[in-house]
């Protein structure tokens, strides 16, 4: 543990441990900073710019998710410059992206008073859903390139490195290498990318199918935390059950064993519990 440093956030003096990010310092004094790409268990990617704040003496706005707090820093989280930046971020994203299953983006639109139609009529990321396996789909029309999936697949959790951002500018997209399908790629189908995706661009096949049939009903889903029945790691599973059928499996992000991450068996290997079998007489 490092020593403490002191900074000012919206006029309030705050003391935090050295190494704390500006965003975490804000959280410590209950100052809300919106985020999209930031995730509690992943390295900051600095992609979305939703979390920008003003730092006195800095020419540009600063991404609070990754900027480390410094002694004597003066932070403003709610200036008109900050509000304008957030609003434009929301307006640009909503003009290109299908945000129908992105609660955090919807939230940003609302709190920044953005006009989602402001830049409509330009290019969008609309494209067919990539449905190349029966465990999860990729709907890149909904992708905001937040990098969370790339981090989770890479050295923040899975260490498989099956996906990355390919292309430049408007052609940038998440790719499994040379445009391959997932079964052809290095993907091991752990679904940890799905677990951290904030927009529903990555979605379990079961959930996606039920949604497309208008049968996905959050009010009918119960969630029960239990322990996986496969190997001896002891991962906590949250079983999402609708009409007595498991429709999704996740894990709490703050669980000390999983940190929200699972393997393919834990996340997708549950069908055996609901297969009727000759042993049931």
């Amino acid at each position: 543990m490092g020593s403490n440093i002191t900074l000012t956030i919206d006029g309030q003096t705050v003391s935090v441990v050295e190494g704390t990010t500006v965003r975490a310092a804000c959280e410590q004094v209950d100052t809300f900073v919106p985020t999209l790409c930031w995730h509690e268990n992943l390295s900051p990617a600095n992609a979305c710019r939703a979390c920008v704040v003003e730092v006195k003496g800095s020419r540009t706005l600063v991404a609070s998710c990754s900027r480390i707090a410094e002694e004597g820093m003066v932070i403003e989280t709610n200036t008109s410059r900050v509000a304008n930046a957030r609003r434009v971020v929301a307006e640009l994203l909503t003009s290109t992206t299908d945000y129908s299953t992105a609660p955090e983006l919807l939230n940003l639109v609302e709190l920044s008073s953005a006009d989602p139609g402001r830049f409509s009529g330009g290019s969008t990321w609309e494209q067919p859903v990539k449905d190349d396996n029966n465990l999860y789909i990729r709907d890149l029309s909904k992708c905001i390139l937040c990098y969370r999936c790339v981090e989770a697949c890479g050295d923040d959790a899975q260490n498989t490195f099956a996906i990355t951002v390919a292309g430049r500018g408007f052609d940038a997209h998440i790719d499994a290498g040379f445009g391959r399908t997932l079964p052809e790629s290095d993907c091991v189908f752990c679904g940890n990318c799905v677990a951290v995706c904030p927009t529903g661009a990555l979605m379990g096949k079961t959930e996606w199918t039920l949604r497309s049939q208008n049968k996905w009903d959050e009010t009918q889903i119960t969630t029960t935390d239990t322990i996986c029945s496969y190997c001896g790691v002891g991962c906590q599973l949250s079983l999402h059950v609708m009409n007595n059928e498991i429709v999704k499996v996740s894990s709490p992000m703050d669980h000390p064993v999983t940190h929200g991450m699972l393997c393919v068996k834990g996340r997708y290997g549950y069908q055996f519990v609901q297969v009727e079998d000759s042993a049931s007489v």
Partner: protein, 541 residues
């Protein structure tokens, strides 16, 4: 088994979090990236923070690909490696003199036992260059903190417990146990294998690792249960199979196991089961074993419909909770066992899992401080938890660093023996078995979902070997051992060395791998040598 003998309790000494804060992680016979993927996340967290990862495995795996150093050891030669490391550490004065003097016994005998184990001798047996053995010995001994982890590559051998002793000796020699970031960590193969042992599903133990030979322990359980208990340990699995062979064991009640598919030497196993007078099987599926039963209790309740606890590989006891209803009149295992007892004339009450847990914790000191409420609140607790205000024990055996140490922990000198089967002219290949990431054991659970890589079983064979046999990539071959013959598609793979072939037993309906494997078992643990079977491979005509 090895840990219980040396330390008095059979649990890993570290926590997963210790992998984050250590300097060297030595995995022996473990493919954690595929068999324990989420533990591997913890391991890689440590690696990204600067820990060195060394993997000892005869095969290349997803785990070895992330290792700084992969020692591609000959099958079944782990003791030669460990003893040579011990030899170098002593020869060059690298052992932890204070720890050895204060906390251990039997050092002189150990020192004598490794005196002949020069790196050069070990190199001939392991196939690892002597310089790399020496280098690893130096790095392990001089690391500030180091953890040894192992899995079935160590324990599925006829000398499994000796393999474990050899690793424990290294930790005792260097003081890499009983401290944060230093320890011995067996990665358990099945979700509650630790919990089964915790609860006394061992021939010589009552719940909480308490010995049936201890009269005080027996008296406590006799008073609680109102029955008298035998002071004689029961049989382990090998002894049970021997008794079945000799006709001394005539009735068997199997709960949630599928030994016909999972045990070695499948033809022989089937004949043992056919000779039983009565076989009762309780399972959620009509497994191959259930198919042979006189009576099947359809326990139509999986983990998702059950209440209770599991214990994981870091001794963390966690709550299991029902998330859905089982079909119809289905009942869980606890109900079925109780109903069976009542049918046999014992007036057991129908209790729920919470009642049973409560009874257990009052009889087992290591678990006394665990209540269902506390397990819930703290995401499980790591035993021992002696009282209800105890936070649990992330690191075991810290007492070894507090003077005086009583009792001291013993070195257990072990000598290397080759696997029971080694390559011969008739059986020139070594078959080793293991897991693949997406699948599990006999497939009862993992064959229920639609994984894109599910092509059934296949044989991994080195391209040189395959070409020599005239086998093309994807050809079906016959694999023949002294006990059985299977046919399986063979695919070229440079993950195995020439002379070694690899299969799993995940698809017994497709390929009954365990018809081949050898039932040479460790007399102490009862585990068979699944990792080393001599086979011949024939191109199918």
């Amino acid at each position: 088994m090895g840990l219980a003998t040396v330390f008095g309790s059979g649990g890993g000494t570290s926590s997963y979090e210790d992998f984050h804060n250590t300097d060297l992680i030595l995995l022996v016979g473990s493919n954690a990236a595929e068999a324990h993927p989420i533990i591997f996340h913890h391991i890689m967290k440590g690696v990204h923070r600067g820990a060195e990862l060394v993997v000892v495995d005869p095969r290349r795996t997803l785990t070895t690909r992330r290792a700084h150093d992969h020692l591609q050891i000959h099958i079944g030669s782990d003791i030669a490696l460990a003893n040579a490391m011990g030899h170098v550490i002593i020869r060059d004065g690298l052992w932890h003199r204070d720890f050895v003097a204060q906390a251990t016994s039997g050092f002189d005998a150990y020192r004598a036992s490794v005196a002949e184990w020069t790196p050069e001798r070990a190199s001939e047996i392991t196939g690892i260059p002597a310089s790399r053995i020496e280098s690893l010995a130096y790095r392990y001994a001089t690391a500030k903190r180091a953890i040894i982890g192992w899995t079935l590559g160590i324990t599925e051998h006829h000398n499994a417990v000796d393999n474990v002793f050899a690793l424990i000796n290294l930790a005792l020699l260097t003081g890499h146990v009983g401290r944060p970031g230093s320890g011995l960590s067996p990665l358990r193969g099945q979700n509650n294998v630790q919990g089964g042992g915790d609860m006394g599903a061992l021939p010589d133990r009552l719940p909480g690792f308490q010995s049936v030979r201890d009269p005080e322990v027996r008296a406590k359980f006799e008073a609680a249960w109102g029955v008298s208990l035998s002071s004689e340990p029961g049989w382990n699995q090998t002894q049970m199979f021997d008794a079945m062979q000799a006709g001394r064991l005539k009735g068997l009640y199997v709960i949630g196991e599928n030994p016909i598919d999972s045990e070695a030497n499948g033809h022989h196993m089937r004949s043992l089961f056919e000779n039983l007078d009565a076989l009762v099987v309780q399972d959620i599926f009509m497994t191959a074993t259930a198919g042979m039963a006189d009576v099947v209790f359809p326990a139509r309740v999986s983990f998702a419909e059950s209440d209770g606890t599991y214990t994981n590989s870091e001794r963390r006891v966690q709550r299991v909770k029902a998330a859905r209803q089982g079909p119809g009149q289905s009942q869980d295992d606890l109900w079925i066992v109780t109903a069976l007892a009542r049918a046999m004339g014992v007036p057991w009450e129908f209790k729920d899992a919470a009642n049973v847990f409560d009874e257990m914790r009052h009889l087992a000191p290591n678990f006394r401080g665990m209540t269902y409420e506390r397990l819930e609140k703290f995401n499980g607790l790591q035993w021992p938890v002696p009282s209800e205000d105890h936070p649990g024990s992330p690191v075991l055996h810290t007492r070894l660093w507090e003077s005086p140490v009583d009792p001291k922990v013993p070195f257990t000198p072990v000598d290397w023996q080759p696997p029971v089967e080694t390559p011969t002219e008739d059986y020139p290949f070594m078959l080793t078995t293991g897991r693949r990431l997406a699948f599990y054991n006999t497939g009862v659970q993992s064959n229920g979902y639609d994984h894109p890589h599910n092509i059934g079983e296949w044989l991994e064979i080195h391209p040189h070997d395959a070409e020599m046999l005239g086998v093309a990539d994807g050809d079906t071959v016959a694999v023949i051992s002294r006990r059985g013959r299977v046919e399986v598609p063979a695919y070229y793979s440079s993950n195995v060395s020439p002379g070694i072939v690899f299969m799993t037993f995940h698809f017994p309906d497709h390929v009954e791998t365990n018809l081949l494997s050898i039932d040479a078992t460790d007399p102490k643990s009862g585990t068979a040598e699944f990792k080393a079977t001599a086979v011949r491979i024939e191109k199918r005509q």
